[in-house]
Symmetry: C2
Subunit: 300 residues, 2 copies
């Protein structure tokens, strides 16, 4: 049976995996350093563990990335704030070393697809996966497929209402200042409160403010994409008391305008934690590698 | 050849049409009054003009509307601020009188579909159509189909950044105050400036502020839906000097984060007026009636 390699290429760590689905996944994670050294480590893992058995590789990458196959920079990471990785040919360097067909997707679109295939959004057509960590990103699935268009969703960079009287922090995003990522990512929390989010007590006002900003963004997503489910993951969401606070804020913002039980009495099942835990990204990469393989197989 | 009826059911006027495509369309418009009288006028038009020739009816309605065929209120207009129309069975009352199969969609999704079929978004997969008038609404097309989900897009109700020092107007939306519709619809302009938008001089600061809010919303759409094209229509957009102002603000908000020519030197072709003018809604209704007919035909 064909095995697939998957990489969740994150800004903080690389998660490499081999398998076909959640219950046969073998993973190896290591910190993200410079592109050349990081790619080398990934290649070694797949050569040693995968050997000749791998039928394809999927990459679920932090972004923005170039997904346009007609573009001269297809497969690149593009305007990332991580300067060492800017304009790096991630797909090219891995496919050259491993001699495998490569499927490429954003980390969050891949995670959204994995959750739709095996996780908490199996039973619905349209869903959004949001990760809140070093950055904030969102993946969007419509009718079982990831949404692309001009580029791909970059949900972290939407601008949310920001009352400077109540929250004078001007934001940490180097492109936009106080966009969602600039106000609610882990670095934003660290800068605003002078300490990392994991050290903030549960009663700290940081959490209510965090829930307020994330709920603002979720309300926008309900009005634009109208998903059947919203999945929240990433480091900051490990503070699981955020969930009820976010749900309460979303109900407040919607103010009954969309008369659906999912936004009222069933909101606990509408805004949910990831079902595949920290592996949704790498599983999404494996899923895409498998889909590419079966598509090529069908064409032969 | 089969002819179809279409209705653009708007909050201000009903546009009824008979035909199959833009160049054989015959339209009749009249002001929207109470639901019973308005439906009666539409029925008369289709009975007199369409007679026995109509093979189906499409309705492109203001919203929110219930599009869920499993729901007890399928075909209704639901939580609209127009109280006489709240919870009115629009599909049921028309299909009963005309004895025709009825396709139902939001006015803006229908307009977005018509533009994708015959208008300015013919050449792209994903697009958004926004109308700015009595209300603000948005339709979303992904891969040639209108996006639904939990409900349907309600783009007018996204909350945009609002600096009360620069713009102390608290907003006109009865559900959300200063959401996009509450800040940038025609009634919001009238309330803020004490005169209707069509009477504001071209040099009035109202227009720069209007462009600012619409551009804020467009930037959010680029980050969430990543459309290949954004179409703007509706009464307020008849002030066509808004287009260059909006484009300039969008470039400013994006700040180069998404490195695509469509958001820089080609932005004139990215943010565009409707190609079907004021008829995109009724043409979308006719398009949907036709699609329903051909689907039924294929199943026979």
């Amino acid at each position: 049976m064909a095995l697939f390699g998957g990489i969740e290429a994150g800004g903080t760590k690389f998660v490499c995996g081999i398998g076909t689905r959640p219950n046969d996944l073998e993973v190896h994670a290591f910190p993200t350093v410079g592109p050349v050294e990081t790619v080398k480590q990934a290649v070694q893992f797949f050569q040693v563990k995968g050997g000749a058995k791998l039928a394809g590789l999927g990459i679920a990458s932090f972004g923005p990335i170039d997904l346009d196959r007609t573009s001269g920079t297809y497969g690149y990471i593009t305007t990332t704030p991580k300067t060492a990785w800017r304009n790096f040919d991630l797909v090219g360097s891995l496919s050259k070393e491993l001699a495998l067909p490569v499927a490429y997707e954003t980390d969050v679109n891949a995670a959204a697809l994995a959750e739709a295939e095996w996780g908490v959004s199996r039973d619905v057509e349209n869903s959004v996966y949001i990760t809140v960590g070093t950055g904030i990103g969102g993946g969007v699935v419509v009718k079982g497929e990831a949404v692309h268009g001009l580029l791909h969703p970059e949900i972290g960079h939407i601008r949310v209402a920001h009352d400077l009287d109540k929250d004078p922090f001007t934001g940490s995003c180097q492109f936009h200042g106080d966009c969602l990522e600039g106000l609610a990512s882990a670095p934003a929390l660290s800068q605003r409160w002078g300490r990392p989010p994991e050290s903030l007590p549960v009663t700290h006002p940081a959490w209510e403010l965090e829930a307020h900003y994330l709920a603002s963004a979720i309300a926008i997503l309900v009005y634009t994409l109208s998903p059947h489910r919203i999945i929240l993951g990433g480091g900051v969401m490990q503070h699981d008391r955020l969930f009820p606070m976010i749900r309460r804020n979303v109900e407040h913002f919607m103010n009954g305008y969309i008369a659906k039980p999912q936004l009222r009495e069933e909101i606990d099942r509408y805004i949910v934690p990831a079902g595949l835990g920290r592996h949704s990204g790498v599983l999404g990469a494996i899923l895409l590698a498998g889909r590419g393989y079966h598509r090529r197989d069908a064409q032969d």
